[in-house]
Amino acid sequence: MIIKVENLVKTYKSYERGNTFKETVVSLFRRKIKYVEALKGISFSIDKGELVGFLGPNGAGKSTTLKVLTGILFPTDGKVDIMGYTPWKERKKYVSNIGAVFGQKSQLLWDIPPVDAFYLNKAIYSIDDKSFKKNLDYMVELLSVQNLIKKPTRLLSLGERMKCEFIMAMLHNPKIVFLDEPTIGLDVIAKDRIREFILEMNKKGVTFILTTHDLGDVERLAKRVIVVNHGETVFDNSIDALRSHLGTKKLVSISTHEPLPSLEIPGVLVKSKMSAYDAELELDVSTMEINKFIDYVNKKSSLSDMSVQELPIEGVIKDLYSSRKE
């Protein structure tokens, strides 16, 4: 086990300023203190070499968890053991073993080429010349950025910059890499390249914790998913278990020669009715088996076309995100 988190609690103190003019003036002299519980006792553990998707809606506590795990924030309570370190207590030693990519915070320097920023990191992490060159050459080749690293960062596209962010985060051979929305705003080709890179590095034994709102990232990369909501863990299992979280539901599209029969029957939920002959529905096969459903439709009408698919992961996530609301 490389990461062990037990009952992690983080409470922020904030001030209510009010929105009316009177409240704003009063808040200049007397502010109402408000305590926000960002994390309410999160626990999980991660093994070496795992690639875990860490999901949750905005404000769920994902970034706060990540910030505690990277040693940026002190928690209010709880225990964290990562490679034998407590991140906020032994920050300097600990962070030399981790890397981080923040999709919305760049480690590169805007006006100068990424390679200059790589050299600054070389000094900061005391990377020897041989390892630096080896890692740089390998990652530059893998991400095909040979011609880009010497161009000023401001001239690079978002996708090109993100590739360089990954190099920056991994030059020092980190054992764990925290990714906070690494593919945000990228086109499909750039996303694909980044995902391939992550999988390649994961094969080499690097542990990844991926925070994202892009479920494509999760489906393509993560074998395990942790979902947090309202500062609590609401799901921690494999991606397959996540898919079956809503039970045995399928997404069914049907077309008929004659008008559709009434679909208000147990186990069937009409998602959309495109015409009198076409509909998309959610079928709970534990209540209504597929062959029985086909029989039902054929008896009342005549089936001309039908497709059965797994429910998209979005449905599961939406369900988890809306769970445990106060």
Partner: protein, 260 residues
């Protein structure tokens, strides 16, 4: 220590490369910095040119106080005072987090990534004024030079203390650039001979908040007329630095980061 120096040099190199990306702006800013630094000495010149004076001090002696103040600021601003601006900006944008994930002292990283190349202009301004003053006062002996250099180092320690306070405030007082105005208003007392102020102000700037150390005390040593209570001010300067360091660390613990 060697690694820290190497990181510092690499940081300076990177900051220079970054600033040089816009050469025109860089040279213009440096030149403006140099010109702006001459404003207070210019006022001093005008005072003396019109027959007025600071009692007990001739013009070049006063200019010496101001030159040393500017030299101290000219070293502090490019080399470590940039951490104030750097901290305020980074905390506001949320990129202070990136400093915290580096395996180095947060303070060191705040200084390294805050190197402010164009502020070198302040140093040149101070150096020019220093040369103008030194050739117009009796040339100091070896003892005066040694004492001056030692006190000048202490003046940098006081400057560092101020940088720590302002940077610490920037951690919890999000996006407040007024801290510079506070700094300039308070430290301006150090640009004049302390003897022109009332006794209570003299006590404050030498024994409580060692602002006199920024210009007046090292200049007095250079001019061969050591200020009263110099040794005590040196001790106070170190106490000041310790308090500032403690303050900065306390503020760092209160860092809450920006939303994700």
């Amino acid at each position: 220590m060697i690694t820290a120096m190497y990181i510092h040099l690499q940081g300076i190199k990177t900051a220079l490369a970054e600033r040089m990306a816009y050469r025109g702006d860089f040279f213009m800013s440096t030149f403006i910095m140099l010109i702006v630094e001459f404003l207070v000495p210019l006022v001093t010149y005008l005072i003396y040119a019109n027959g007025a004076s600071f009692p007990g001090w001739d013009m070049y002696e006063v200019l010496m106080v101001q030159a040393i103040f500017l030299l101290s600021r000219g070293i502090a601003f490019p080399f470590f005072f940039g951490m104030v601006w750097n901290t305020i900006e980074r905390v506001r944008e949320g990129t202070f987090d990136l400093i915290l994930i580096k395996p180095r002292s947060v303070l060191h990283m705040a200084i390294v990534t805050g190197f402010d190349a164009e502020d070198v202009g302040k140093f040149f301004g101070g150096a020019i004024l220093f040369i103008v003053s030194i050739v117009n006062v009796p040339f100091p002996g070896l003892l005066e030079w040694v004492t001056f250099l030692a006190l000048f180092c202490v003046s940098l320690i006081v400057m560092f203390g101020f940088a720590l306070i302002l940077s610490g405030l920037g951690i919890v007082w999000i996006g407040n650039y007024r801290v510079y105005e506070i700094f300039f208003s308070v430290t301006n007392f150090g640009m004049y001979p302390a003897s022109i102020f009332s006794k209570s102000i003299q006590t404050i700037i030498t024994s409580i908040l060692p602002i006199a150390m920024l210009g007046f005390i090292p200049a007095s040593a250079m001019l061969g007329r050591p200020a009263e209570g110099t040794f005590f001010s040196v001790i106070i300067s170190f106490v000041f630095l310790s308090i500032c360091l403690l303050f900065w660390k306390t503020m760092l613990k209160r860092y809450t980061s920006a939303g994700g």
